[in-house]
Structures are given as C-alpha cells and as structure tokens.
C-alpha cells in the first residue's frame, strides 16, 4: 500500500470518508428508530414514557431560554436584510417589495435555518456535553443496569422538546425579522406600518408558512438526534466529551444546512409554484 499510486490513495481516502459518513448517517437514523421503539413500547404498556418534569425542564432550556438569542439575532438580520435589499430595490422604485421579500425569506428559509444553527450550537452542545459526561461517569450504564431504557429515559424527552420547540422558535425568529424590517421600511423607505402589514399579508402564502414549519420540526429532530447520539457514544473521558461536543455542533450545523438544501430541492421538484 505504501507504493500505491497517489490517485489510488486519494480515491481510497475519499472512499473511507464516504463510508464513515454513511455509517454515521445510518447510525443516527437507527438511533432515532430505537428511541421511538423504546418509547412506543413503554406507551403500549400503559405507562408514560418519561416524566413530564424532565420534558418541561428541557423545553425550558431549549425553548424559553433560547428566545432572547433567537429573537435578537433574527432582529439584526431582519434589519440588515431590509436595509441592503431596500437600497437596491429603491433604484428601480420597487422598495415596496421589501416586506414581502423579508417575510418570505424568513418564513420559508432563513427563520428555520438561523434557528437551527443557533439551537445546534446552544442546545446541541449542551445535550452532548451533558449526556457525554453521564456516559463517562457510568451514569448511563447504571441506568441501563437497572433495567431502564436509556434511550427512552434520556433521549426521548430531549428529542421531543427540540422537535416541538423548533417551530415555535422559528416563529419567534420570523416575527423578530419582520418587525425589524418594518422599522427600516418606515425609517428609510417611508412605508407605514399598516401598509407594511398589508404587503406582508399579500405576499405571504400559506404554503410558505407550512414549508417553514415542517422544516423546523425536522431540524429539531435532527439536531436533537445528533446531539444525543454524539453524547451517548463518547469515549475517552473528559477529552472525549470535548471532542464529541465540537463534533456534535459541527455535524448538526452541516446536517441542518445540507438537509435544508435537500428539502428545498425535493419541495421544488414535487411541489412547483
């Protein structure tokens, strides 16, 4: 192998990377499937799958505590977007397109995407570090040793919290950005608030809202699954927790952007305007 031709080596390395990538993707999907299986099994036995307190603790951390960050970042992005596009559109006398442009862009695309990236960094990292620490201190194994399913007990409430809260946070992001663009529209382009709202209502379609909401649900599931999977597969003590946390954030952000692209391609092909 040492004498292998350079292109062969490169091809082998690409093959290795692709194989690892596919194995990881497969593992995450199996992880989600097993979590569902354990949770449904518990429900079939007439028991609640996890404690309500545990679920609400995660929703508070992931949702309520993320509102200021998501709201603020989206507000600034909304301001910038309205300002930059506004000046370009003004040259053609079409600045009244700003409300629709910002509303559609955020509702359909940027709201879920920005929220997904922020949640991957903020909550995904926290979930991975928390579960990773539990893994290296044998807490996860102790739960398993008691006969309790760790996926149902530890992963399911986190997954459900992110799954349900992502659309709510995306909505916060959309409203913040649209509000910010309304301020710019009023200040720089003399578009009054009632007129701004009329323009938003005229341009925004139900399908834009549905697209954004569906995407948000899936992003929530994806971020939660990657974060928990990385946490429960930590190896190598404290250093391993650090490595897994970094990897979790990078993987989740890449997955969200990649999945968003895939979603848009599929949606555009099967549901053309």
């Amino acid at each position: 192998m040492a004498n292998a031709h350079p292109p062969v080596v490169v091809a082998q390395e690409i093959g290795q990377v692709a194989r690892n990538f596919l194995r990881e993707v497969g593992s995450v999907f199996w992880f989600i499937a097993h979590t569902f299986e354990e949770t449904l099994e518990r429900i079939q036995h007439g028991r609640v799958p996890f404690r309500a307190a545990s679920f609400f603790r995660h929703t508070e951390r992931a949702g309520v505590d993320s509102v200021p960050l998501v709201g603020l970042v989206s507000f600034f992005l909304g301001l910038t977007m309205a300002l930059l596009t506004g000046y370009q559109l003004q040259r053609f006398g079409t600045e009244r397109l700003i409300p629709g442009l910002v509303a559609i862009a955020f509702t359909r695309e940027l709201g879920p995407l920005i929220t997904g990236i922020m949640l991957a960094a903020r909550i995904g990292a926290a979930f991975t570090a928390e579960l990773g620490t539990m893994q290296v201190s044998e807490e996860v194994e102790a739960i398993e040793a008691m006969g309790i399913g760790p996926l149902r007990f530890l992963v399911a409430p986190r997954l459900l919290a992110l799954f349900l809260l992502m659309p709510c946070l995306s909505t916060v992001s959309n409203i913040s950005a649209i509000f910010a663009s309304s301020l710019i529209s009023k200040a720089y382009f003399s578009i009054a608030f009632p007129y701004f709202l009329d323009l938003v209502k005229d341009s925004l379609l139900i399908r834009d809202i549905i697209t954004g909401v569906l995407k948000s649900f899936l992003f929530g599931l994806l971020i939660g699954a990657i974060a928990c999977y990385r946490g429960l597969t930590v190896k190598g003590g404290a250093a391993g927790v650090g490595t897994s946390t970094t990897s979790s954030v990078v993987t989740a952000i890449t997955a969200v952007i990649g999945f968003d692209t895939l979603y848009n391609i599929v949606y555009t092909v099967f549901f053309p305007t």
């Binding site: 099994e41 028991r47 404690r51 620490t133 539990m134 201190s137 044998e138 807490e139 194994e141 102790a142 739960i143 398993e144 040793a145 008691m146 006969g147 309790i148 399913g149 007990f153």
Partner: protein
C-alpha cells in the same frame, strides 16, 4: 444462580477473558480477585448484559443472558443490583430521587409507597438524613452506601459489586463490607464482588476466585484460598514483587 461457560472477551487487540468459566450458587458471596485491568469489572458487566462476549454463554437462573433480546434483558436486570466502583449516582438528582429511580420507572407504586421504601433502604445503609443532598455533596463512602441502597431498592436476587471498598478509609470500608454481609444474610441475596482489596475480600467472601490471564486459576473457600500453593495466588496475597505475576509466567495456569 449464575454460570459463565467458556467466555472469551477481547477489546480490540487486548484479550481480557480467555475461556473464563465460573459457577455461583444461590446465597453465596463470591469474591473475584485479580490485578487491576485483569477483567473483573468486565465479568460483572457481562453478567448484567451491558457487554456482550465474543463467545461463550452466560446464564442467570434459567435465562441465557447472551441470547436475550433487549426487552427481556431489561426485565431480567430488574432481578440484579449493581454497585459501581465510582458509585455512578445520577449527578442531577438528589439522594432520594437516585434511590427512588428504579421504583418510579419500573413499578406502579404510589409516591407514598416509594417514599416508604426509599426511607427503609436509606435507613438500612445508615443514610436516612441525606435524602435532600446532591451526590456532589457526599463523600466517597456515602456515595457507595447510597449506590448500595439504590441497588437494593427492587429487592434483587443477585448483587454485583465492583470494588465496593476501593478508595475508602479502613473504617468506612469495614462498614460497607459488614453491610454487604448483613444484607446477604438477612435478605438471602447472592453476591458477586470484584475487588483487589485483600481485607475486604476475605471479610465478605464465602468463596474466592482468582482471575489471571483471562481464566480462573484458583477457586476455594477463604481459608483454603489463603493456603493456596498456586504461585500466582501466593504472590498476589503476599503482595511480593517476586513471582510469576510480574514475570508473566504461564506456570501458574498449568499448575492448577
């Protein structure tokens, strides 16, 4: 109660168990001795089913652990209690919630019934006053006792203890050992203890097994075990630096 038959276990390149066989009778207190890293904890994990062997069979009562599916394995584990070397208490839950966890998750008992059982088990290990404390507020010995209470909360038939007195001062170590003995006598619990703490091992054990190079090389009652002619056992018990353990000799195995 427990039987391991010709178990082989390897972690990457490292062979940990190499044809390991062992039988544990009901109400016995078996102590597995061996050097650090010899595979004692691995044996406990294999019995629990949290690790799968490369080959061989493991039985707990009539169940073959190695062949059980996840759901059945979870049910079987409810008849076992495990105390980890570093206690493995859930750091985000207080003592009461740690001990109550198996009851809350695996039984349909009411809160008052759970509280009563938790009080009873904490009283048994002498830790009733620590209910509201978090694990980080407890000393090593206290954590061990809480872990023991948690392991006993479902009244298991088999208790697995991984280095129960490691890292504790001699007095607290004796308290833990006596607790294990009294529990096994009162509640008729079978126990398997993995340790290399000599005093603790001879205090707890009704039978001793020496693990060396992946196999049991000596198995006897404590008094007979102390007088073993096996050079590995003799060196291990005396703590001498001269002998087959450090030389990596195979003689000890063949002399059994």
């Amino acid at each position: 109660m427990v039987e391991l038959r010709d178990v082989h276990m390897q972690f990457e390149e490292k062979k940990v168990l190499d044809g390991f066989s062992l039988k544990v009778e009901p109400q016995e207190r078996l102590v597995i001795m061996g050097q650090s890293g010899s595979g004692k904890s691995t044996i406990l994990r294999l019995i629990l089913g949290t690790l799968r062997p490369n080959s061989g069979s493991i039985f707990f009562k009539q169940f073959e652990i190695t062949r059980l599916r996840r759901r059945k394995l979870q049910q079987v584990r409810r008849h076992m209690g495990m105390v980890y070397q570093y206690s493995a208490l859930l750091s985000s839950r207080n003592v009461r919630d740690n001990v109550a966890l198996p009851l809350e998750e695996l039984t349909v008992k009411s809160r008052s019934e759970i509280d009563k059982i938790v009080d009873e088990k904490l009283d048994l290990v002498g830790m009733k006053d620590t209910k509201e404390l978090l694990p980080e507020e407890l000393s090593g010995g206290m954590k061990k006792r809480i872990a023991l209470a948690r392991a006993l909360v479902l009244n298991p038939e088999l208790l697995l203890l991984d280095e129960p007195s490691a890292g504790l001062d001699p007095v607290i170590a004796s308290v833990i050992d006596e607790l294990i003995i009294s529990l096994s006598e009162k509640s008729k619990v079978t126990s398997i203890t993995a340790t290399h703490e000599m005093d603790s091992a001879f205090r707890i054990g009704t039978r001793m097994a020496m693990l060396y190079q992946g196999k049991v090389i000596e198995e006897a009652e404590p008094e007979k075990f102390k007088q073993s002619k096996n050079p590995v056992v003799a060196q291990f018990l005396s703590g001498s630096t001269k002998g087959p353990i450090l030389e990596g000799s195979q003689d000890a195995i063949t002399k059994k």
